[in-house]
């Protein structure tokens, strides 16, 4: 795995992400500054980590989405390269037009940090091959604006094409408003683009990978990616 972690001013979970990538894949990622116009040669995974790029001023992810490095990411994605955006990364991908929809203020209008449960909807993708379809995983969220919204047609397409990969649910896998902490439409926690190579998700799988610290349900995502990339290589 040759991952590149993008670093925008105000991003703050890049260290968490880099540590996890190294831990799970054995290889430290390249840290790529937002002003770069090209990705390191041989990059096979681009990760946009969480944080508050540009303070999340204006709209979450809006300013970062227009950085020079995003043109390189767009080109990379267009060639089928794998892109993972987590939390602010998801917001940036939406703002950059690489994913549809938008992340609005949480329904409660409060920042929420807690462990949530996610239903993995499909396992036949490079992002979720480390899980079984229908599996429930526990990972933390930490965001104020994670309430996914798109117009009805878009949501229908996302659902119809099986592009919702993660959904907030109860510990036993029921989709239930009580377990949808931010009010996202259809309890959507993570989606992929049409081609299936760009994933955006609000929760932080990178914070649940070490048994000594807590649950390890986030590992599957990174382990699956590493496997998928090894197979492709």
């Amino acid at each position: 795995m040759k991952a590149a972690v993008l670093v925008f001013p105000g991003i703050n979970r890049e260290r968490d992400m880099a540590r996890t990538l190294k831990l799970v894949s054995g290889q430290a990622p390249a840290m790529v500054w937002h002003a770069e116009t090209a990705l390191p040669a041989g990059t096979d995974l681009v990760v946009i980590p969480g944080g508050f790029s540009y303070g999340d001023y204006l709209r979450c992810g809006a300013i970062a989405a227009r950085s020079p490095v995003m043109d390189a990411v767009r080109a990379f994605a267009a060639k089928g390269g794998l892109v993972l955006g987590v939390c602010n990364g998801f917001q940036i991908l939406c703002e950059a037009g690489l994913l549809p929809g938008v992340l609005m203020r949480n329904q409660q209008l409060r920042f929420i940090c807690r462990d949530v449960y996610l239903k993995v909807e499909r396992s036949n993708t490079p992002f979720t091959r480390g899980y079984n379809a229908g599996q429930v995983i526990r990972v933390p969220v930490a965001h104020g604006e994670g309430n996914y919204i798109a117009d009805g047609e878009t949501v229908a397409r996302l659902e119809g094409e099986g592009r919702v990969l993660f959904r907030y649910c109860s510990p036993d896998g029921m989709v239930d408003p009580n377990w949808n902490h931010n009010g996202a439409i259809n309890a959507i926690a993570g989606i992929v683009n049409e081609r299936g190579n760009v994933l955006g998700m609000m929760p932080h799988p990178e914070n649940h990978v070490e048994a000594s610290i807590g649950p390890t349900d986030g590992r599957g995502l990174f382990a699956g990616l590493a496997e998928a990339l090894a197979k492709a290589a």
Binding site: Y54, G55, Y57, L58, I63, R66, S67
Partner: protein, 81 residues
């Protein structure tokens, strides 16, 4: 009846958002913008009442109590009719 409440930062109060937007516009190659200050706008639909003065009073109350943080923000009420 329709109305609009606009909320702006008082002069002298730091506007980190505006500052970041200025920087971003410059980085996007949009030249000629000296400064940006960000405010909020609320488009409000009022029930029934055709009484302008009453509507204004109501909106003032809403702004004072909730829509604006009057320690650092000013507001303005426009009843559009």
């Amino acid at each position: 009846m329709k109305a609009r409440v606009t909320v702006t930062l008082k002069t002298g109060i730091l506007d980190p958002q505006g500052k970041a937007i200025e920087g971003a516009l410059r980085a996007l190659g949009i030249e000629g913008i000296a400064s940006v200050r960000q405010g909020k706008m609320f488009e409000i639909e009022l029930d029934g009442t055709a009484d302008r003065a009453k509507a204004e009073a109501l909106l003032k109350q809403a702004a004072d109590k909730l829509l604006a943080n009057t320690v650092i923000e000013n507001y303005r009420v426009d009843v559009l009719g």
